[in-house]
Amino acid sequence: MGSGPADAKFHVLAVDDSLIDRKLIERLLKSSSFQVTAVDSGSKALQFLGLQDDEKRDPQPTPVPPNHHQETEVNLIITDYCMPGMTGYELLRKIKESKSLNYIPVVIMSSENIPTRINRCLEEGAEEFFLKPVQMHDVNKLRPHLMRGKQSQETTKHQ
């Protein structure tokens, strides 16, 4: 029972430790007709993506293969920068270092307008950097990245 291209919505994974901000980003994304999964930490995000968090390496023999569930296919990740534990920047790095996930576009959100921080994230491969509170016009910028992400994923799958 797979979803055909006609009914496939873009799926965004939102990461933010603030409940209010999670609620806000979820509403913003849903009102743009995106499917949303919101988690409160970088490690939960990696878990959802099927990537083992190095610091919590399990003595499990078989690692979970990434993207083994059609339903959890993620087309874009939007993450807060300042989070306890794993920062948004660290999450970004882990995703870009992963062979199976590095095609997924990542967007960073931050309440602080710090140029060195912004540059660091963009250099590491973030597509956009949004200043909080995130607005509808920011979310409107996501579509081209989402479309590109989906295309790259198709390419990766067929390689």
Binding site: S18, L19, I20, D21, K23, L24, R27, L28, S31, C82, S111, K132, P133, Q135, M136
Partner: protein, 148 residues
């Protein structure tokens, strides 16, 4: 009509006085028939969050040896949530507060905490009143006045 005008004037005064900012309007614009309680839910979360953080801050500043990093972390959180709901005066009080945390200025931090408490109670009171008034308009089949 009269009710609408009262609400409009009340709301306008909140914006004029800087108690609420454009972010609050953003929140209201995200509310629709399929998400009729969105603003009430976010505001409610903001109240819970703020009260918890203000308690944490009070306790943190009562310590014999104040951990300014911890204090700053709490203020950072409060600044974030107040910014997200459009509670401008609370947000601004937090910005000032963080500067004094950086300086490790105990006296000033105490004053800032008082100010934050004050501004929070003010916006809480105003928002509760506003949302109640707006609910009445909606119940009567009217539309909420939006402030640009």
């Amino acid at each position: 009509m009269e009710m609408w005008r009262q609400v409009f004037q009340y709301k306008e005064s909140l914006f004029r006085e800087g108690i609420l900012d454009a972010q609050f309007t953003q929140l209201q614009q995200l509310q629709d028939e399929s998400n009729p309680d969105f603003v009430a839910e976010v505001v409610s979360l903001f109240f819970e969050d703020s009260e918890r953080l203000i308690n944490d801050l009070t306790r943190a500043l009562e310590q014999k040896c104040i951990d300014f990093k911890k204090v700053d972390a709490h203020v950072h959180q409060l600044k974030g949530s107040s910014s997200s709901v459009g509670a401008q005066k609370v947000k601004n009080a937090c910005i000032t507060f963080r500067n004094f945390c950086d300086e490790q200025n105990i006296e000033a931090c105490f004053s800032c905490l008082q100010l934050v408490k004050q501004e929070y109670l003010l916006v809480k009171n105003k928002l509760e009143t506003l949302l109640r008034m707006e609910q009445q308009i909606l119940a009567a089949g009217g539309a909420i006045p939006m402030i640009e």
